[in-house]
Amino acid sequence: MPLLDIRNVTRRFGDFTAVDGVSLAIEAGEFFTLLGPSGCGKTTLLRMIAGFDLPDAGQILLDGVDLAATPPERRPVRTVFQSYALFPHMTVHGNVAFPLQMAGTPARDIPGKVAAALEDVRLTGFDRRYPHELSGGQKQRVAIARALVTHPTMLLLDEPLAALDAKLREELQIELIHLQREAGITFVYVTHDQTEALALSHRIAVMNKGKVEQLDEPSVIYRFPRSRFVADFIGQCNLFSGPIRANAAGAVTLDVEGLGAVKVAAQTALAAGAPASIALRPEQIRIGAGDAAAPADNRYEGTVADLLYMGDVTVYRVNTAGGARVEALLANSQTGRAKFFEPGDRVVVDWPAAAGHFIED
């Protein structure tokens, strides 16, 4: 039995359906992420798990028990809010002690538990500080300590790192992974940041317009996106669309405008003429000067239109002879060279049929 079982949950606000018949099951000990653009319903779903909002239809079961009649204070889940929501009139100690006091913990046990929770988030010695005396990262740590001090069954995190700068965010991501593993608590994490989702999660549910588009492990979501939306939302992606020209022996050929025939390894029941797409990651594409390249399944000539030098890698945007745009990524690992091509250079891009991922439209 899953720890959290969400069954056909729907939530409407007037004419707008924020969450539309979502079903998903989260296992105990999992780091589960709800990923999607703003307005996709991920925060609404989280608020319904916390108990701040109720579904219009469907059920949310925790350990097999329907939570509908349980107010937030009696649910064994804790939330880490995007705004931290630390009580400004209480010290760090007061904030972390608050859930213990509400739970009726004997007063003599509270200091020890608070100290242990603050140690877990590396904030020992900050007891007497007030929230306004803390940095953003420290506030976030206090919020996590407050959420974990009573050892809840499940921790809900609503974009907890969104307000922090990139360096600190990376540091806290690693801390979160460690905390989750050590505490053994189920994390349900909401974010719109796909790199964060890929880095942290055991499983990701990609949401769009109130529905779950795909639920899988990060590597599967990245490599085998099920829809054009998922392919486009997760990482950089070339999307080639067009009618099927041929479908035989595990290889499908699409007629793509500007490229012509594009071959992809896929099994599909779709007949010739049906519209379909191919998702192709920029790092799967080989880009070269065109001299004696080995014959590939897909090979196109073009010119470099522009490039994005990112330090570790460079993204080249190539205009093919037929007028299509292909994005290719090259690691700058070769010593002594920063860039391989300049805008205006004539190049050849190629990739094997197995590199692309076939998507039925």
Binding site: A50, R78, A85, F87, R146
Partner: protein, 262 residues
């Protein structure tokens, strides 16, 4: 610093003089050793001594204090509830009902309350005055509390519930401490409004009950004596003190821009 035009300075000084000179004169003449408010004779505390020996005046002061305390206390509780409700529920009618007593001319409010009490066959006296004061003070408290609520992060109450607090515990441990400066400022405002109210008190006090403003009025019907100056000075001092305390507790009260809560 920007340079200021001399004309602007002159106008500002004139306005301040117009506002505060009459008050200053009252204060100065309360120490004047003369029966007439005409010329300065010499310094004396006689009028204050006389004031504290005047039984009528002391009875009126006691009435004013009792009414002020009761009215501000009850108005603060009700006004705080109204302020929170105004913030939480976006209703159309509620703000109108709460704020109307502030906008309605006092004389209208006084007359209608008098008619209301007479209709109910309610005996006019301390109780009717206190009820009337509560009625017009609620709106002022509600405004201050609502402003304070608006400055509070909504997520804090949810965070409290999330931490295991019942709705009442969340109010008691999180909402109330955070809006307390507003509540106290509202209470002090209610007290000052109650203690120097004349018009509504005049209509709802009946024959036997006298408050400080009513007593002062009845005295100046004969002549503006230095004793009136003395009691006015004391009343002014008390009001000023309360306003200073209130503005300290709720800085946004006297400023046009809302300060970010710390």
């Amino acid at each position: 610093m920007r340079s200021r035009s001399p004309l602007l300075v002159a106008v500002a000084l004139a306005v301040y003089a117009f506002l505060y000179l009459p008050l200053a004169i009252v204060v100065v003449y309360s120490f004047n050793d003369s029966r007439l408010n005409a010329e300065w004779v010499g310094f004396t505390l006689d009028w204050y001594r006389k004031l504290f020996a005047d039984d009528d005046m002391l009875a009126a002061a006691r009435n004013s204090l009792v009414i002020g305390l009761v009215a501000s206390l009850v108005a603060t509780v009700l006004g705080t509830m109204a302020g929170i409700a105004l913030h939480r529920y976006r209703l159309r009618l509620l703000p109108l009902l709460v704020f109307a007593p502030i906008a309605i001319p006092e004389i209208l409010m006084g007359v209608s309350l008098l008619i209301f009490f007479v209709l109910l066959n309610f005996t006019l006296g301390l109780v009717s005055v206190a009820i009337a004061h509560i009625a017009f003070c609620i709106g002022f408290v509600a405004i201050v509390v609502r402003a304070r609520m608006a400055g509070m992060d909504e997520a804090l109450v949810e965070a409290a519930r999330d931490c295991g607090a019942t709705p009442w515990q969340a109010f008691r441990h999180v909402t109330l401490p955070l809006i307390m400066p507003g509540v106290i400022a509202g209470a002090l405002m209610a007290f000052t409004l109650s203690i120097d109210d004349f018009v509504i008190t005049f209509f709802t006090a009946g024959a036997g009950t006298v408050t400080l403003p009513l007593q002062i009025y009845s005295m100046i019907k004969i002549a503006v004596t230095p004793e009136v100056n003395a009691v006015s000075t004391l009343l002014m001092l008390l009001t000023l003190l309360l306003i200073v305390v209130a503005s300290r507790l709720s800085p946004s009260l006297l400023r046009s821009q809302e300060e970010a809560p710390t």
